[in-house]
Each structure stands twice: as structure tokens, then as C-alpha cells.
């Protein structure tokens, strides 16, 4: 009898725990956070696999290199490589992964092949903000302007404005963004000489010091303007078309007709009734777009010689600096995950139908 009671109690505790976990899963913010952590975990695992486990991986290659001429023993080589990568190669593989994970969380991504004093983390953090700034500005601008144009295109559906905006938008966003970048350099920079591209190279002009001065901020924008323009042009098409479709759908909704029946002004209906409902789902797409753009940033930074994380990655590739490569992969992924999380949180705040305890 006592055993039955005890068993029942255990079951009760377990089901309470499961309920708690279940309710945690259902809460959208917590779920988004959990997903973010999981994604970083998986990205770390993939990176670990790439550099450690797959055949032909950089760590093994490095050890081979060091032991090839006989100047080091296998153990010595392993130890040396362990200082470069945030992994202790003397441990069994699963433990290596845990060490790796732990170090990554603490911010230790190893050091560059070229200079063991330069930590990968510091290298990347020197350039990452530039990329995030350019990408973020370009993306936000394209979102805001794109939504405005899309709304107008829907309202003036069928007009020449609509056709022009929709066609140009879809053309520019279908062409690969790095090609547009090259074309800008070619046509406006070289052929027409409208843009001083040589001066615009890099992220900062020589001699300008970081600080909250107008000179610094102005210089930053000067150098970032071409990448921002490219991000802006190549993404705006998507927002225009999405918003146009969403607005057309929203205009058909009953509550818009009902609002008109109540005598509300067209401008109020456009902003709070049509606009908000149409734009809201697009906020989630903002997050997904971040991932894509950051990928394309590599090539665009190459074209404009903009010293962001993309350009740094290419340099690491050219120098076969694998620790820096894997560091960039991880940190960029984390940035995108954080951006996604921010977008999810923003959405849950904006849409009253999400995550509200009624």
C-alpha cells in the first residue's frame, strides 16, 4: 500500500515537471531563446566536426605538417596544436568537444596560425562591428523604404508606379548582389567616374581616429556607403513585393471594410489597420534575411575592399589560417542567431496575439 502511494507521488512529481517543461516550451520567448541556444550548439558541433573530425581536417593536417620533417614528435605536435585551437587533443574526442564548447562559451576561440599571440576572438571583434553596421543599416533601410513602396504599390495597384516599382524591385533583387557591386564600381566608379572608389576603399580613411566625433562618424558613413547601397538595392525588391502582397490581402479583410463603415479616415486606416497588419509578419522575415545578407557580405566587402569580417575571412582563407576561419564561422553564426532572436522578440511584442496570457 505504501509502495502504491509512493509510486503515485513520484508520478505526480514527474507530471508536474513535464507540465512545467511543456509550458516553458509553449512560451514563445523562452522557446525562441532555447532555439537560439540550440542553434549555437549545433553550429559549434558542426564547426568542431569540420576542424577536427572529418577526413582531411585542419587539425590533423597541422599535426602532419609539424611532424613531417621529424623535428617534433607526435605528442609534441599535438600539444602545440592544442595551444592554437581551444581543444585539448590529449583527451578523448567527446571530451574534446566539451572543452571546445566550454572555451567557445568563454570566448576563447584559439589563436591565429600566423601569430600565436593574436587571439582569434580579438581579431574578429576588430572587424565584426563594421560588417554588422553596414549590413544592419542596409537591411533596415531597405526594410523601411521597401515597406513604404510596397504599401503604395498596393494602393495604386495596376498603375505605372506599381508596375515600375514591382518590376525594378524584382529585377534588382534577382541579380546576385556581388554582381551589382561590381557593376557599381565598373559603371559609376571607373567609366563615369562619379564615385571616388579608390578613396572609398576600406572602412576608415587613414588618419581618422575612432571616437564620437563628427569627423569619425562622417568618415565611417563615407566608407560604408557603397556596401550599404548594395545591401539596400539588392534587398528592397523582396520587401516591396512581400509588402505589396500583404497589403493587397489586408485590404480585403473585413475589418478594413468595417473601419470604413465607421467613418474612419483613409490615412488612419492605412497606417493602423492595413499597414500594421500587413507589415507585421514581415518582421519575422527580417530575421531570416539577416542570415542571407551576412553570407553575401563576404563578396561585397571583397569588391569594395571594405574591412569587415568578410574580407578578413578571405584573408584567412588565402593564408590558410584555419583557426580564424572557424572563429569567424562561429561568431557570424552567433550574430545571426542573436539577430533572429531579437526579431522574434520584437515580433512577439508587436503582435498582441502572440504570447499573451489571456
Amino acid at each position: 500500500m505504501a509502495a502504491v502511494i509512493a509510486a503515485e507521488e513520484r508520478l505526480a512529481v514527474r507530471s508536474i515537471a513535464r507540465e512545467r517543461l511543456g509550458s516553458m516550451w509553449r512560451h514563445p520567448i523562452l522557446r525562441a531563446a532555447l532555439k537560439a541556444i540550440l542553434t549555437v550548439l549545433v553550429a559549434t558541433a558542426i564547426t568542431f566536426a569540420l576542424i577536427r573530425l572529418l577526413p582531411g581536417n585542419p587539425i590533423d593536417l597541422r599535426i602532419d605538417e609539424l611532424t613531417r620533417d621529424g623535428s617534433m614528435t607526435y605528442e609534441q605536435a599535438r600539444d602545440q596544436v592544442s595551444t592554437i585551437y581551444p581543444i585539448d587533443l590529449n583527451d578523448p574526442v567527446p571530451v574534446q568537444f566539451v572543452t571546445y564548447l566550454w572555451n567557445v562559451v568563454r570566448g576563447d576561440l584559439g589563436s591565429s596560425y600566423l601569430s600565436t599571440t593574436a587571439s582569434v576572438t580579438s581579431i574578429i571583434f576588430a572587424v565584426l562591428p563594421w560588417t554588422l553596421f553596414a549590413v544592419g543599416t542596409g537591411l533596415l533601410l531597405s526594410f523601411v523604404v521597401g515597406i513604404g513602396l510596397g504599401l503604395l504599390a498596393a494602393y495604386y495597384r495596376g498603375s505605372r508606379f506599381d508596375q515600375a516599382v514591382s518590376t525594378i524591385g524584382s529585377i534588382v533583387s534577382s541579380v546576385p548582389n556581388y554582381l551589382i557591386a561590381i557593376l557599381i564600381v565598373l559603371i559609376f566608379g571607373v567609366q563615369l567616374e562619379l564615385i571616388p572608389i579608390t578613396q572609398m576603399r576600406g572602412a576608415l580613411s587613414p588618419g581618422v581616429h575612432p571616437g564620437f566625433t563628427l569627423e569619425f562618424i562622417g568618415d565611417v558613413f563615407f566608407h560604408a556607403s557603397l556596401p550599404i547601397v548594395v545591401y539596400f538595392l539588392t534587398n528592397i525588391g523582396h520587401w516591396i513585393l512581400s509588402m505589396r502582397n500583404a497589403t493587397l490581402a489586408a485590404l480585403e479583410e473585413d475589418y478594413v471594410v468595417a473601419a470604413r463603415a465607421r467613418g474612419l479616415s483613409e490615412s488612419r486606416i492605412t497606417t493602423a489597420y492595413v499597414g500594421r497588419n500587413a507589415a507585421l509578419p514581415l518582421v519575422t522575415q527580417l530575421a531570416i534575411a539577416t542570415g542571407f545578407i551576412v553570407g553575401g557580405a563576404v563578396l561585397i566587402e571583397q569588391v569594395f575592399l571594405y574591412q569587415g569580417v568578410g574580407l578578413r575571412l578571405l584573408r584567412a582563407v588565402a593564408q590558410r589560417d584555419y583557426p580564424v576561419m572557424q572563429g569567424i564561422l562561429l561568431l557570424v553564426t552567433v550574430s545571426v542567431v542573436v539577430a533572429n532572436l531579437a526579431a522574434d522578440l520584437l515580433y512577439s511584442k508587436l503582435d498582441p496575439r502572440i504570447g499573451r496570457a489571456s
Binding site: 534577382s174 561590381i182 575571412l313 582563407v317
Partner: protein
């Protein structure tokens, strides 16, 4: 064919059809009639457009137009293969997850979400830098390995909605089995999604491919638009007015091909939507 007629009804669809058809001809058929001019001729470096060389020559005196003709085949082939693989993966696991539901569905969806979050090109760059793939198939597989995620979510959403429809219930009650359910009942209704996304998968594959080639990470031999572009950039062809055509030609070829694909996809939008089709 009535299919072509429906696509051609929209101006975008018509242009897309012509464009894609034209490029397919250019890449696969024209080379049979035009020999490859691969010889280096230092005397004719960056020649102006003429009857012999309608698009001029490159930094080694080779005819640009000829390279354009031959440069599409590899890119189109790899793009097609990559799109094929990613579409296959997306359909299989998307419909599987949706029909089976439960834990399997959660796992599949979770993996897809993660893959969608990760920045594709950077992963591709790192993978290419470490493993240096060169074979067609390998490259196609690598490209496809990240692209399936977007389509998978769409397929899954479609299947989920179709699952509730009556004819699926009917088929299920007849106990016709899972493969029949997926392939005979649901997929034909998603043909439009699949076709359109196949096309977009191709544009994505071409984008990634050319990007990686330009960065020198997947070296290709033979004439190739991406290689043309890479060499042109390397040679600084942007900065000389003589070499403008050499750098512009592959850019235009790639851009026009992408545009044709997108236009064709928009033409297809109306094809499979019976409500839009009914006049």
C-alpha cells in the same frame, strides 16, 4: 503545348521562357556548332569589338563571345544538380515530417530551422576552403546541403494543410499506404510549389557557385562564366576601358540567366493555380 501557352500569357512568363530556353540552347546546343577557341594570342589582347570578335577578347587574346558560349554549361549543370538534390531532400523530409508528425516532425523542423539560420555562404566558404571540392557531383552536393531547408518548410506547410483535406482522408481510410499518400495524392497538388522552388533553388545554386568560383575556392577548368569573372577581376579588368566587355560579358550572362529563371518562376505561378487559370 498548353502549358507553355499558359506560362506565356504573362509577359514575365513569356520572357522567362524565352530567356531560359535561349540559355539552355546556348549552353548545351550551340557548342556543337561552334568550336572552342582556346589558343592564346598575345597580339590580340583586349581587342575592340569587331566582326571577328563581337565582344572583344580577353587578357590572353581569346575571343570573349566564344567563352560565353562555352561558359554556361558547367554552371547550368551544377546548378541543376544542386537544385535537384536540395528539392529531393526537401520534398522527402518535408512530407515525411508532416505526415508522420510527432517527434520526427519536431526534429526535422528543428534541423531545418537551424540550417536556415546559419549563414550559408560563409559555411560554404569555410567548407570549400578546408576540403577544396572539385568534382561536379561533390560541388552540387555541397551546395544542396544547405539549400533544402527553405523548401522543406514550405513543403511541410503544404502537406500539413493538405493532410486535412477530404481526399486524403479518403485515401488513408482505404489504407493505401504512406508512399502512395505522399506521391500520388499530395505531391501532384504541390507541383507548382515544387516547380517554382526548384527554379529558385537553381538561382541560389548559381549564386553560390559563381561566388565561390570568383573567390577561387572551387577552381574549375575550361570555359566558365564564373572563371571568366574571376580572371577578369584578378586582372583588374574593371579599371581599364579596353577590358570593359571582358568583365561585363560574364556579368550580363549570369545576371540575365538569373532574371530569366525568376521571370519563368513568376510565369509558373499562374499555371498550377486552377483558380487563376479558370477564365
Amino acid at each position: 503545348m498548353s502549358l507553355i501557352r499558359v506560362i506565356a500569357r504573362k509577359p514575365a512568363g513569356l520572357l522567362g521562357l524565352i530567356g531560359v530556353g535561349g540559355f539552355l540552347l546556348l549552353a548545351y546546343v550551340v557548342p556543337f556548332f561552334v568550336p572552342l577557341h582556346n589558343t592564346v594570342d598575345i597580339a590580340s589582347v583586349y581587342v575592340q569589338p569587331s566582326f571577328d570578335h563581337p565582344l572583344g577578347t580577353d587578357f590572353q587574346g581569346r575571343d570573349v563571345l566564344n567563352q560565353i558560349v562555352y561558359g554556361g554549361r558547367d554552371i547550368l549543370t551544377i546548378g541543376f544538380l544542386a537544385a535537384l538534390f536540395s528539392t529531393a531532400i526537401a520534398i522527402t523530409f518535408g512530407s515525411l515530417g508532416a505526415t508522420l508528425g510527432g517527434k520526427i516532425d519536431t526534429i526535422i523542423l528543428g534541423v531545418a530551422d537551424i540550417v536556415l539560420t546559419v549563414p550559408h555562404l560563409i559555411v560554404l566558404i569555410v567548407v570549400a576552403a578546408i576540403f577544396r571540392p572539385t568534382g561536379f557531383l561533390v560541388i552540387a552536393i555541397v551546395l544542396a546541403s544547405l539549400q533544402w531547408a527553405g523548401l522543406l518548410r514550405q513543403v511541410r506547410a503544404q502537406v500539413l494543410s493538405l493532410k486535412e483535406r477530404e481526399y486524403v482522408e479518403a485515401a488513408r481510410s482505404l489504407d493505401l499506404g504512406l508512399p502512395h499518400l505522399i506521391f500520388r495524392e499530395m505531391l501532384p497538388n504541390m507541383a507548382s510549389y515544387i516547380a517554382i522552388h526548384f527554379i529558385f533553388a537553381m538561382t541560389g545554386a548559381v549564386y553560390a557557385q559563381v561566388g565561390l568560383i570568383v573567390l577561387g575556392l572551387i577552381p574549375q577548368t575550361g570555359a566558365n562564366w564564373g572563371v571568366m569573372l574571376q580572371l577578369a577581376l584578378q586582372q583588374g579588368a574593371i579599371y581599364f576601358s579596353d577590358s570593359v566587355l571582358y568583365v561585363l560579358s560574364p556579368i550580363l550572362a549570369i545576371a540575365l540567366f538569373q532574371l530569366s529563371l525568376v521571370a519563368l518562376a513568376s510565369g509558373l505561378e499562374d499555371v498550377f493555380n486552377p483558380r487563376l487559370r479558370a477564365t
